[in-house]
Amino acid sequence: MNIPQDLKYTKDHEWVRVEGEVATIGITDFAQGELGDIVFVEVETEGETLDKEETFGSVEAVKTVSDLFMPISGEITEFNEEVESNPEIVNEDPYGKGWMVKVKISDTSELDDLLDAEAYQELVG
């Protein structure tokens, strides 16, 4: 299973890439594998400022649906249009083309609560 070293993770199987004040968020390789074929990703919170652990969207797969939770507090500045038109790229490239939203980080100290690659690896076994 692919768990890149340079990313942060949540127990809800999301990943976070931090670049300055901006965090890019997606779901992990483990998550896409568990969900199976993804049919669409719904994010209707663009422009909203949400708290950590609030729902910012959902992922519908053939078999099941899963909420997307904010790993950190911040403003959703962008939703990946590619994911909206070609949801299968989340299955194919969860850490790359399959990213979901960009967030302007409200409080960088929250980043310390996220898991590193090793801790996430332990979580998913």
């Binding site: 594998g33 199976g36 074929d37 519908e60 053939v62 078999k63 099941t64 649906v65």
Partner: protein
């Protein structure tokens, strides 16, 4: 949790294993959509050995099955199969099943894995002493070879003329070196094909032989996930989702297997229900707005009033559209009726559509 004879084989094939009806079952291998489309276009194999097999024999076996199942068992002759259900005495369904006529007063019942214990207890309770009820579920494996290329994939393994077998018939004989095999022209996919019943001791060899013989047809293993989407595209009921101990066979659209020319458990009440009319019916529907219906979601009318509940739903891999089944109140059952599905606090538009969704 119980294991299939081929548990390790599935894991070696990359099968993702999940608990289903107490069995560790492969839910998918390469991916649900790819597996689904492969069965529709070519041929695939499902290991559905979790299904239950009961042998019913002895004097009075026919009468016993006439009483406990809703379809007319007297219509069967050796080699013929019938889809049926076992009504309970409270208006619902104990299970749906296949009835195989092996000979005079000699039958095989194939029941859902999740209901094996319940079905056995129910049948045993109504069984006369002259009838033997033998639960052989643990002794048999079952491979469903489904898809338009099934005949070509399997013919080299048997002398039975597969192309000549008609739907809902079976043959007993040698298959892939195994002596005691039941080859049944049935399935749960609507894609054509066969269900192969083999003794557990022959399961590994027969599975291997099927893949060798079918290699030229690109035969592939298929998981339970695709089995569910394939059956839903055809509008086939799934026990525990669309039918259960509380749903009437008439409400479920199973009137065609509920025969009132004979007496069976609860037939008087069901007959009355038929005469008086049902207040809800299992309907198919197709989503118009983007969203996927799931079991338990509410069905609403344009005014937002609850008129029913979703029992099955998925994104149809063949159509690229979301489809579902659900019980809908009288008055909203006609094809083309606009309904709304409450998907995660949103009311999404859908339209009543008569299955099969995929012809």
């Amino acid at each position: 949790m119980k294991k299939l004879v081929l548990d390790q084989v599935h894991q070696d094939l990359g099968g993702k294993m999940v608990d289903f009806a107490g069995y560790n079952m492969p839910v998918q291998y390469e991916g649900l959509n790819a597996e689904h489309l492969h069965v529709r276009s070519k041929v695939g194999v499902f290991d559905v050995s979790h299904m239950g097999e009961f042998f019913v024999s002895g004097e009075g076996a026919l009468d016993f099955l006439q009483k406990t199942t809703s379809n007319d068992v007297a219509k069967l002759s050796p080699g013929k199969i019938q889809y049926s259900c076992m009504p309970n005495d409270k208006g619902g369904i104990v299970d749906d099943l296949l009835v195989y006529c092996l000979g005079e007063n000699d039958y095989l019942l194939v029941v859902n894995a999740s209901n094996i214990d319940k079905d056995f207890a129910w049948l045993d309770q109504h069984r006369p002493n002259t009838v033997t009820l033998d639960n052989q579920s643990e002794a048999w494996s079952l491979f469903a070879v489904q898809g338009p290329r099934a005949v070509q994939a399997l013919q080299s393994l048997t002398d039975i003329n597969l192309a000549e077998m008609t739907y809902y018939t079976f043959e007993r004989g040698a298959f892939a070196g195994a002596e005691e095999v039941i080859v049944s022209a049935t399935g749960y996919t609507g894609a054509g094909g066969f269900e192969i019943y083999v003794k557990n001791e022959d399961a590994a060899a027969v599975w291997k032989a099927i893949f060798e013989a079918g290699a030229a047809e690109d035969i592939r293993p298929i998981g339970l996930g695709a089995r569910d989407t394939l059956r839903l595209e055809k509008g086939f009921c799934l026990y525990g989702n669309d039918i259960d101990d509380t749903t009437s066979p008439l409400e479920a659209g199973l009137g065609w297997i509920t025969k009132f020319n004979k007496d069976f458990i609860n037939s008087e009440n069901l007959k009355k229900q038929k005469e008086e009319g049902i207040s809800r019916r299992l309907n198919g529907f197709m989503m118009l707005d983007r969203g996927i219906p799931r079991h338990g979601y509410r069905i609403l009318n344009a005014e937002g009033e609850e008129i029913g509940v979703v029992t099955s739903g998925t994104q149809s891999p063949s159509l690229g559209k979301a489809i579902g089944l659900g019980y809908i109140a009288k008055g909203y059952n006609a094809e083309g009726t606009e309904i709304f599905i409450e998907v995660r606090n949103k009311q999404l538009k859908a339209v009543v559509t008569k299955p099969p969704f995929v012809k």
